[in-house]
Symmetry: none
Subunit: 207 residues, 4 copies
DNA sequence: TATGAATGAGCATTCATTCAT
DNA sequence: GATGAATGAATGCTCATTCAT
């Protein structure tokens, strides 16, 4: 009779499992075959679940992908927060060029998580309003974070409009990392990353 | 003897007209509704021709969009060539910051041509291998052009690896311009463009 | 606990009904209009179900016809087995000519089941590899059966290579029966069947 | 002004050439891809001719195939007539078994001409009334010919109803040859042909 | 919640045929 | 006769979604 709230009953646990299987299947199929080539039927089949169950958990495949992406972003934010805490980039002694390099490196690492899925989502950012909105808010988040980071080095910065500067920096990093990780040109990657770091450093720091 | 080569005979002219109508309809629909929401039937209807005629001229809608884009790119290259010839950016007297500003401005203008179509193609660059390849080659072209432009100012440049520098610069410009023209944030656009120009200028030029 | 395995639950029963309706419609249309003139849409309409339902049950119309034919062949094999058991053709006292006559008669009866469908399948045996394969295996089956039948009369046979003899016999019977049942020349049918029986009898039996 | 009737003028000759090219293309495509997979457009393309030209010469692809087949049959009849004249099978001294063997051999040879085309036509004999009619008349022709051949050996024959006997014989030969040439089982072919010859010989000849 | 059969609009594509040049 | 662009009905098939069990 008494169901402990912290340990969900069998029915609830089963539902959670179904949901998890659908998410996993969605990640696999969206990555392998692309968003438009993936149908709810395929997802259900891959998850080993009935089509109806798919619609019990998600209104359509777009919602599934948004869900997947949100969880992905949450995990990334956690990773970033952890990295920042560990590295203590705020310490005023850190050299500017090193800080920039660390930021770039961080971005690179984030793209290692699931580059194929990322590629599909990037496509939707261009073609679907909901994903476009998501992309904007993620970018804004990144801008806030970098601004906070640079705040500690205020006196060594040579830019007046820090927000605009950070927007441009974030977009430049994102673009170069995409070029490397999504369009996959490993040749010249290191040289490009060096150039990127130099560019941003000279832009932001007085010296 | 009786067929002037410059004025194509009736059958050929009619074919060209149909082709033109299909291209126009394709541009309109791809821009308005997006690539995946546009079907060959819709295109034919909008062009005022039969479905069969669509397939007489193009193997499928992808080929139509590639054709459209290729013509678009050709027009852009022509425009750029013309601008370069007119402005004489090679003159060694031109100030570096001004040159960068001009390049950015040029890129901005190109995106005014048909931003909605551009947005759809950008999506496909992420999700379709053929468009990805096209994107790569266009970027390479832009890099070549900027390298040629900077060659005239060699002694005032502070970068060693000019190619990597130009790749990063091209990607940064493209990213910021996309943010403004495609995701449409006019607020702060000018500030961002200034920041972008400053960043590139400080990166490339000794002073 | 509560679902009797012998009486399928509602969903399953409904599916079986739909399947049955599709098969029936397929038989009717393939017979009336021929294989190539029959489309999945027509079949679905005739069966009173949606096109999608057709594809829930069969991958395409070829699979439907193969299914129909397999069930048909299974029924025929059952009939033949029954006839053989009833008639006791193995009894050594049976006269050779009578045995041959019985085999021919049996083949004739099989062709009464659905001659129009049989005609369509015969066409496909010539033009489609899958049906060709099926035709081969059915012929092989018939050869085995007749060989088994003749084994009991070994000492009265005048052929050495029984397998080759049976192959030729099976093909001859099939050909003549087709001439009568499929190309429908009732005039002279009896005379031809007599001739066929005599031919085979004189070929196989010493007397 | 005066056009020699035996040497057709340029226009007529060109028409004949077009027709010939279409026939050749038809033979190639019907053989390679099958009747239903071949379209008038494909035929015209293969012939290096406009679609319209196809319809100038034939009402549809069926008429083309009928034409092809008729010419084919005419050539075969000529071959057979020639063979008969050369071999003098009528000579009363010829042994019956040898005669039968020669007839079978002749049939085999005819099937070497274009087995793939023959296969396609055989399919149509089952599925199309016009081809069925053609098949019937060819068979009747073969029956007449064999009857004429056997007439010379009347006194050595043991059958009363010669027509029915010949019908059965023709069908048996055709069936076994199809098994070998069209369904291609070279293993056992010789044994089957021997059996076939023995069967017919024992059937028709007193000794 | 879970199931999976049913739905029918929609899609990409082909085809035989016409007809103005 | 020759041409080949135009036609639009038809084909095979997929899809997101519903709903009775």
């Amino acid at each position: 009779m008494s169901i402990p709230p912290s340990a969900p009953a069998g029915k609830q646990r089963r539902a959670q499992e179904t949901r998890a299987k659908l998410i996993e299947a969605g990640i696999a199929l969206f990555s392998e075959q692309g968003y438009h080539q993936t149908s709810s039927k395929k997802i259900a089949r891959r998850a080993g679940v009935a089509v109806g169950s798919f619609y019990n958990h998600f209104t359509d495949k777009k919602e599934l992908l948004l869900t997947i992406h949100k969880e992905h972003v949450a995990r990334i934010h956690a990773m970033v927060a952890e990295s920042l805490a560990a590295a203590d980039f705020g310490a005023s002694g850190v050299h500017g060029r090193k800080l920039i390099g660390a930021i770039i490196h961080q971005t690179l690492r984030l793209h290692d998580l699931s580059p194929d899925l990322h590629r599909q989502i990037s496509a939707l950012v261009y073609s679907d309003p909901d994903f476009a909105e998501m992309g904007r808010s993620e970018e804004a988040h990144a801008v806030e974070q970098i601004m906070a980071l640079l705040e500690a080095h205020r006196d060594r910065l040579r830019v007046d409009d820090l927000r605009s500067a950070c927007q441009v920096v974030v977009q430049a990093i994102e673009a170069v990392v995409h070029g490397i990780k999504i369009f996959g040109q490993p040749e010249g990657a290191d040289a490009q990353l060096d150039a990127l770091g130099d560019m941003i450093h000279r832009f932001l720091f007085r010296d």
